[in-house]
Amino acid sequence: MAEKPNIDEMSSRPPVIAPGYTFGTITDKISAIVLTRETPLGWFAAVGLTGMLTLMMTYAIGYLFYRGVGIWGINIPVGWGFAIVNFVWWIGIGHAGTLISAILLLLRQSWRNSINRFAEAMTLFAVMCAGLFPLLHMGRPWLFYWLFPYPNTMSTWPQFRSPLVWDVFAVSTYFTISLVFWFIGLVPDLATLRDRSQNRVAQFIYGILAMGWRGSARHWHRYETAYLLLAGLATPLVLSVHTVVSFDFTIGIVPGWHATIFPPYFVAGAIYSGFAMVLLLAIPIRSVYHLQDMITDQHLDNCAKVMLATGLIVAYGYVLEFFMAWYSGNTYEKHMVFNRLYGYYKYEYWGLLAGNIVMVNSLWFKKIRRTPMLLFIVSTIVLIAMWLERFVIVVISLSEDFLPSSWGIYTPTRWDWMTYIGTIGFFLFAFLLFIRVLPMISIFEMRDLLPAAEVNAAEVKSK
């Protein structure tokens, strides 16, 4: 019997998958990317390039271990520098993955099914990059385990009233839960790869990872409950992580940091930059691997709309910073705003205003949201602008706080840049390996989207 074609004429929802697919063809198309023998040449080139950047990062870190954090540009008064800027930037990027996989699942946004897998992978790699920076910034990174509460011969314990300790728990929980969520989502697809693979070694590896998943109805029942519960837990978690990151600033009394707007403003900024990264990855991937049927223009459009909404919240945050500086009547807050606009780092600040207030409004136009090339450019600008935002928050406030006698300028060194660009290389390197060995689109959730997946309730009842 011929397989039933996927015809979705009756549904009024915008198509999230091109018509014509069956359970079989959709499985074959996605698994073929992994199981094929012909890897695109561009993949090797990209792995080579990003691999070299990863090596550069390793070199920069190795030299840091040898010489200490003095090789970076940090000094008093700006003790935080690139490490914290990059930490906040990377962890923010991770947030879009969890938003897509958890929050959009709870909101029954079925279009998420084709982008959640690689967005979650993006989260994991971004959190890895993020976690690296505070560890390196510690000065003696080999003693990182002092952050955790454990009985020790020094008879001391971490200070739980400190937001830096909250960060340790927030980020490590975030990474663990994201990993569990991602792996649980992968299990049925690993079983598919196990069954589809022709190679003994691949069969063995996928077989071990799939843990003997056989698609039993009882298993699916528990699976769906667990998946939903994980989504329900990850939803408040993702909002809490960037909130806790913002507490690192707000608990301090430094001008420009001590503001109640920070938690929502940080979370919105995180999702905003994260969706920019999702688009930055999705646009080339879908054209290289010919996935326009699954990651449709509608998906890009939706992501751009989320970016627009969160970007406007971020813009509101900027406006409110101006307002509070004036309304509070606080000299130091007023100086902070003045310093941002006309001080030493004014180009960074005007750059972020141009990106996050002016550029983001271009997403009101459907033409831009529907043109992948333009969207790619806007996303790149957004990522740069969001990085500048973190730079502005961390560096400007510290460089001129209260007493003019203790002001100082921060200039990043080449080691700062090598570590930062190195993590971008590592992020892309890990991502490229991921799309080669694991299905980058969730296969079973895509099958579920087909109209043929629906049980005909009337027919079941009639018998």
């Binding site: 569990v180 003997g212 698609g215 109805a217 667990a226 519960l229 990850a234």
Partner: protein, 178 residues
Amino acid sequence: MKRAGIYGLMAEFNTPTEVVMAARKAYSEGYRRMDAYSPFPVEGLSEAIGFHKDGVALVCLVGGLLGLITAYGLQSWINLVAFPLNVGGRPLHSWPSFIIVTFELTILFGGLSAGIGMLIMNGLPTPYHPVFHVPDFAHASRDRFFLCIESRDAKFDRQATRQFLSGLNPREIAEVPY
């Protein structure tokens, strides 16, 4: 180890609707020891084979509560007993600053319990299972739907069950060896 007899009889279907109908009929016929296999979660299939409640939510709740108690207990114990530190005269039991770690560990323990609990209750990892002997079963992770009536069932009879299954109009019926 070779066991006598067979694990069960397996019928193969093309659509989710067919397998749900087949499972319902098998249940009303009196079969209880059976399982259905599908490449994605099919609505109503687990209910059709008589599986309604799973314990995952309870495990998750218990895990989450354990995390909550662990985190709050640990922080209180550290700050009140093990390492009391007077910071600018603030109370030792400064509970608002304990909330965040408490929240995070609640999520961590709850999430791990839900994920790992689900795998354990499903009996995974189980690399070997008799159903994998059926050659067509590779399609269970691709595009087909299976209903397996197991020989452990009181009503199972090689001939009668096969006859019953062929009445459901399956694509194929296969014996599942041990």
